[in-house]
């Protein structure tokens, strides 16, 4: 009862998160969010620390090889022993594995050999066994796979990223539906806040690239005009 009571204050104190693809800025900075999360009971604070570690792991997919990812996932899977964390992170982990398999097949690579580290989570073995099937026989479970595959094959990277983040966003929304002021709602908020942060950072990189492109264009034009 005590823990539950505290989350009324905490959840009501969190600013509204605008959907990631419409957000112009983070509604609360990491320091203030951390301060708010101190309202959690120590036990739940520890779970949130684990969630932050899992989010950090999720946010750096390009920096590691598949093998490193699998090893790191094995270590971090221990962090997902809490049902609340499993509820939040199981779907994104499975989504990542499905996408890893789709990308691998798109590149024309063969079915992963037994023990080869390529994907993480419980779906990896299933996908290996059903490599020959369209969408690995997972369409009934994940109806978004054909759409993701089509975007991957047509090279629409931004649309694909938007789709994957939308799926994660909607999943987090559904998790918080059951108990608007419960701990799951706090975790779902944290997860969605991280999605907004990641999306905004993508935009920042794109803006930087565009800026550099414009600067180069101006310099080239200047050299052309003034010799």
């Amino acid at each position: 009862m005590k823990r539950q009571n505290q989350y009324y204050t905490l959840v009501a104190s969190l600013p509204r998160l605008v959907r990631f693809d419409r957000a112009e800025r983070l509604p609360i900075n990491p320091q203030r969010l951390g301060e708010r999360l101190r309202m959690l009971e120590p036990e739940d604070g520890e779970v949130v620390d684990r969630a932050v570690a899992l989010l950090a792991w999720q946010g750096r997919p390009m920096a590691r090889t598949g093998g490193e990812m699998a090893v790191e996932y094995g270590r971090l899977a221990e962090l997902m022993d809490r049902p609340a964390l499993k509820g939040v992170f199981e779907f994104p982990v499975n989504l990542r594995t499905v996408m890893a398999a789709l990308r691998r097949r798109h590149r024309g690579l063969p079915v992963p050999e037994a023990g080869e580290p390529w994907g993480v989570g419980p779906l990896a073995r299933h996908i290996e066994r059903n490599w020959g099937e369209v969408d690995f026989g997972l369409t009934a479970l994940y109806p978004w796979i054909p759409r993701a595959r089509a975007l991957l094959e047509s090279g629409e990277a931004l649309a694909l990223e938007r789709l994957l983040m939308s799926l994660n966003w909607e999943r987090a929304d559904r998790l918080a539906e059951g108990d608007e002021f419960g701990f799951e709602a706090v975790l779902a908020y944290l997860f969605k806040w991280d999605l907004v942060k990641r999306w905004l950072s993508h935009n920042g990189e794109a803006a930087k690239a565009r800026f550099e492109e414009l600067v180069s264009g101006v310099i080239d034009e200047k050299e052309r005009v003034f010799g």
Partner: protein
């Protein structure tokens, strides 16, 4: 035996007040905590949040009225009826106050981020209040029936 019946009757007399108070305590506490959380994130409108968080207190007022009305009618022949009506009215008031607290907390959370929905977001809380009013009014109507039929 008569004393036991009267004791049950007094339980029915006090139940609307006591159970209504329990519900109001929980409901106001829930909504109040949400109001305090909303204050952390907003620069104004605090009075509005506190006003919403006090909404679940009305159930204890209905309980007080029912208790005062029932107490004047208690006799050996009306006591069993008063017990039944009183306890069930109290349970209805308690549930209404607790769940109104949830609705008020949601209203505070939403109207903090989107002030223009403040009025409409209170509609679910008002609907929950309506059920408490039903229980309150029908308790008084039934008391009239009990007094008229049994107590003469």
């Amino acid at each position: 035996m008569e004393n036991l019946v009267l004791a049950l009757g007094w339980l029915g007399v006090f139940a609307p007040l006591a159970l209504g108070a329990v519900g109001s305590i929980i409901g106001c506490s829930r909504a109040g905590q949400a109001a305090i959380g909303a204050m952390l994130e907003t620069e104004s409108g605090y009075g509005r949040y506190i006003g919403i968080s006090a909404m679940p207190s009305s159930q204890v007022i209905y309980g007080i009225v029912v208790t005062l009305t029932f107490s004047g009618a208690i006799k050996a022949d009306t006591a069993p009826g008063i017990f039944g009506v009183g306890v069930l009215t109290g349970l209805a008031l308690m549930a209404s106050a607790i769940y109104q607290g949830y609705a008020c907390a949601s209203s505070i959370r939403v109207s903090k981020s989107k002030p223009e929905v403040f009025g409409i977001s209170l509609a679910p809380a008002a609907v929950v209040e309506g059920f408490a009013v039903f229980a309150f009014v029908f308790a008084l109507v039934l008391l009239g029936t009990l007094s008229g039929g049994g107590g003469g």
